[in-house]
């Protein structure tokens, strides 16, 4: 059965890049969110067993989403995909419970490897 995943990023190019980088053999149903609020709605509607999350987003940013999920939806597997790659950003994201931190521009091979490591593939 297809796993529900959500791609949360305010950039259309970035959402497209992540979609393209998903391994073709991974059976998923994809939902897209353009800000943090939509990402949380997707999680609460059961559309995001795996959430690919950008950090800089309008309405509610990625850090706020992680904070909310840590309190309410600990089981959601969050993989942060971020343009801000500073050590502090990575440390904060890890502290907030993200499973992985991937840098933009996203390397498809690294995404595939990450999904394998997390037992999702």
């Amino acid at each position: 059965m297809a796993i529900p995943i959500t791609i949360a990023d305010d950039s259309a190019l970035s959402r497209k890049t992540i979609r393209r980088a998903l391994p073709p053999e991974w059976e998923v149903s994809i939902c897209e969110a353009t800000n943090g609020k939509e990402a949380i709605t997707a999680v609460e509607n059961g559309l995001a067993e795996v959430l690919f999350l950008d950090l800089q987003m309008p309405e509610m940013d990625g850090y706020q989403v992680l904070t909310y999920l840590k309190q309410h939806h600990e089981k959601a597997v969050v993989i942060v995909i971020s343009a801000d790659i500073q050590p502090e950003a990575q440390a904060l994201v890890n502290a907030l419970g993200a499973f992985r931190f991937l840098k933009k521009p996203l390397e498809p091979a690294l995404l595939g490897q990450t999904l394998k490591e997390l037992g999702l593939l």
Partner: protein, 192 residues
Amino acid sequence: MSSYFISEEQKDALQEVLNISMGQAADALARLIQTQVHLSIPSIKQSSSDHFIERLKNPDQQLAQQSFLGELSGEMISLMSDGDNAAIAELMNYDIPLVEHEKQELMLELTNILAGACLHGLISQLNFKIQLAAPVLLNPASICIEQLSWQQALLMEICFQIPQSSFNAEILICLKQDSLLPLKNHLDMLLQ
């Protein structure tokens, strides 16, 4: 006229490319000074040189100019306010107060780190080849429009701040009009 027009989709793509470039530049600086750099959203707009030159004339700032040519051509202006020197100099292990030549050296070093990484990010993601000249310092008191190599440009503004030390630097990438078409073509390739 249409070749000067960037569609919303192309602008979104360019914005994302700039976000990533800015992130790489901030990471380079943050690792060097072991301090987090605050990022804001880059802006993209058309600018004319007579309008642009006015903001460079503020005497309380330092300016550096770095031109590039090749598949894309234009120039980058790095802009830093004078008062911010001490804070960043300390983080970069200079003895303060700085003497004049140290101020200049610091300005060129920061330009190399920030402007270099921004432009590198932009051209590597879009798959362009360019040659980048070494940065030169400009004097805001004597700057004139002839020192700019364009009349109309696509202006990309990227701002870096370190809140606790009041450091504020801007990198302005000015892309000449004849580079707009190749830029749009490469953005379209990314979007395909």
